[in-house]
């Protein structure tokens, strides 16, 4: 029947087109390789079919799930009225929206993933997760509450230095410093919030920029923080006082044939930040629909309107800055544990901008967007590494294209859909 054939061929064609488009876009990154030592360009055409196949499959899958989602929306609970065997808990679990099943599967996948990756990949993944936490925190301030914040890295630094310093001077461990770092960053956010209560827009941006620089300069010039030399030898988080590599690596290598050079401490940090990302995502989702979230939204929309419905803009601002900063503190402590050495140069203005890019590129106010943005932004430079010195040029060009053709970000927030339709 012609009808059916057209129905099946359409997604296939579309997938083919997407695959070609992806291959074209990724050509300079994945196929051309500049060998800067011998000064020649190598072409890795063998990668092209793999790329095409991957793009084709991904597009087909995406289409399939979207269609399923649509079908489900069209016929909700179609068979629920018909009499049948009693519903057991297993049925209920299976009937539970696909979303939960896929999410738990994804979570499990992400948990076992680092055991099969190279240490280098684990490092990139951990960094990506840290950036997701940072993005979610800044999203509260910039995306949801509409306060342009250009000094967010300062709060990241507070978290990292709380761990670094308390460990250096008092030998305190990761688990004590994690809540302390979070709290300190929140306090720093409150401290910044107090003078800027009355500021909005550009003025606020400038003050936050100044605050970020003050923190960086303090860290650079204070002898307490060891100045620009930074703090080294920051220990990994403890695991009930056991040495992970000594106790567990031989077992894993022997019985599961895993990579004998893997660093279980790094994997442990990865698992911790993974849990933190899950928790902060849940927190961000809950906050979005809470009273506080609505107050932030009102603040972003219109300050006068905010006041006329009885929301105090200054309170909304303070809570947004405090809570947003606490996310950065959390990420900071984990960051310090991950790279074991922290210096003021890791928390510069560029880093603030980097995090801001995640929020803007991902989609302001959209939680899934911020997660996607963080993943893309933190992994992209690694993929672009082969393009050597051109990578920031390509990075910048991609950013410009993105802002011109998709200003709502990778995944636009639900709210901006209504506002612009």
């Amino acid at each position: 029947m012609p009808q059916i054939s057209s129905k099946t061929s359409k997604p296939v064609l579309r997938a083919l087109f997407s695959a070609l488009w992806l291959a074209f876009l990724a050509l300079p990154i994945l196929v051309f390789r500049v060998n800067s030592i011998s000064g020649i360009i190598e072409y890795q055409w063998s990668r092209l079919p793999k790329l095409l196949a991957a793009g084709f499959l991904a597009s087909l899958l995406w289409n399939y799930f979207q269609k399923r989602h649509l079908l489900k929306q069209e016929s909700p609970k179609a068979g629920s009225s018909s009499a049948g065997p009693p519903i057991t808990w297993a049925d209920r679990f299976l009937a539970r929206t696909d979303r939960y099943r896929w999410l738990s599967l994804l979570g499990f996948g992400l948990m076992v993933l680092p055991f099969f990756c190279s240490p280098y990949a684990v490092k990139i993944l951990t960094t990506a997760l840290i950036y997701i936490t940072l993005g979610l925190g800044l999203n509260i301030v910039v995306g949801v509450s509409g306060l342009l914040h250009l000094g967010y890295a300062a709060f990241f630094a507070v978290g990292a230095y709380v761990y670094g310093l308390l460990n250096y001077y008092f030998g305190w461990g990761f688990w004590v410093c994690l809540p302390l770092g979070t709290l300190s960053a929140a306090l720093a956010g409150l401290l910044l919030g107090l003078p800027v209560i009355r500021l909005t827009g550009d003025y606020l941006a400038i003050v936050t920029l100044g605050f970020g620089e003050i923190v960086r300069l303090l860290l650079t010039n204070s002898s307490l923080t060891m100045g620009p030399r930074g703090i080294g030898n920051i220990p990994p988080p403890g695991f009930f006082g056991l040495d992970l590599n000594e106790k567990f690596r031989p077992f894993l290598v022997e019985h599961l044939a895993l990579n004998p050079y893997m660093d279980l401490n790094k994997i442990w940090i990865y698992l911790i930040i993974l849990l933190i990302v899950v928790l902060t995502t849940i927190a961000a989702l809950r906050l979005e629909n809470s009273r506080l979230g609505r107050a932030w939204l009102a603040l972003r929309e219109d300050e006068t309107a905010c006041q006329s419905v009885g929301i105090s803009p200054s309170q909304a601002k303070l809570t947004a800055l405090t809570l947003g900063s606490s996310f950065a503190g959390l990420a900071g402590v984990v960051f310090a544990a991950q790279i074991t050495f922290i210096a003021p140069s890791s928390f510069s203005f560029m880093d603030s901008i980097y995090i801001l890019t995640i929020v803007v590129l991902g989609g302001m106010g959209s939680i899934s967007g911020v997660i996607a943005g963080a993943a893309v932004i933190s992994c992209l430079p690694e993929f672009l590494r082969e393009a050597e010195e051109y990578r920031f040029l390509i990075f910048g060009a991609l950013m410009v294209l993105m802002m011109v053709y998709r200003p709502q970000g990778l995944i636009r927030s639900v709210r901006s859909v209504c506002s612009r339709s």
Partner: protein, 238 residues
């Protein structure tokens, strides 16, 4: 009978500038008061001072038997003192229903909120049609309706309306003023109405205050003011 609101000798400053040079006015329960005057006379400042947005430098404001001088707006809204700001100021990216629920932000009485919502839809059936549309896509008249409705969702005892006719077509203005009168009659809501369009304001208001340069120049029953030839020429534009 004691008035619901009494403003006694209130002075308000913006920095060194004295915007209100000692005004006094009262609003009795169930009254509609019009606040008239030229641009810059201090009408909007008077409203902002009453709801606590610009706390007075001097003087006293008594509301429902209590001194509310210097209280914050978010506390006053709980007591039923609601301002519908000039220029509508709805939340443009939020839907109509979200905008309305924002008006009830400080309330927790779910059933009452639902019945207030029904009431608002009865007043402005158009809003019900546009429930899931974002506020920014509404026409000017609809936005004004939404702004007033959002104010009503706060269960006001005293509703302050700042220039509800601003920038609207005459036919829409007529509808809105008709509804304002209806709210006053059915809910016994006391209102203070700031308007440029003095003629129209005097048709719904019982009494009016005429302000010039931060002072109350004149006050009286709406009819009297309307019929006085001199006042009409001097303050009300013919």
């Amino acid at each position: 009978m004691k008035p619901l609101l009494a403003v006694n000798g209130v002075k308000t400053f913006y920095g060194n500038i004295e915007a209100l040079k000692g005004i006094s006015l009262t609003a009795g329960s169930g009254e509609i008061i019009a606040l008239l005057g030229a641009n810059g006379a201090g009408k909007t400042t008077a409203l902002k001072t009453i709801v606590g947005l610009t706390p007075p430098g001097e003087g006293q404001i008594i509301y429902a038997g209590g001194d509310i001088t210097g209280k914050r707006p978010e506390d006053l809204i709980r007591k039923g003192l609601v301002l519908v700001p000039e220029g509508r100021h709805i939340f443009p990216a939020l839907t109509v229903s979200e905008n309305l629920m924002m008006g009830a932000f400080h309330r927790a009485d779910k059933n009452e909120i639902a019945s207030d919502l029904e009431y608002v839809f009865k007043l402005f059936p158009k809003l019900k049609e546009r429930l899931n549309q974002s506020g920014g896509t509404l026409s000017g008249g609809e936005q004004q309706m939404l702004a007033i409705s959002r104010g009503l969702m706060g269960r006001p005892k005293l509703l302050l309306l700042d220039e509800p006719s601003l920038g609207l077509a005459p036919i829409i203005i007529g509808q809105i003023f008709e509804t304002i009168r209806e709210i006053n009659v059915s809910q016994k809501t006391t209102m203070i109405l700031v308007e440029q369009n003095a003629k129209l304001a005097l048709t719904v208001a019982g009494r009016a205050y005429i302000m010039t340069a931060g002072r109350v120049a004149m006050s009286g029953a709406a009819e009297e003011l309307q019929n006085d030839e001199n006042i009409r020429r001097a303050y009300l534009g013919g």
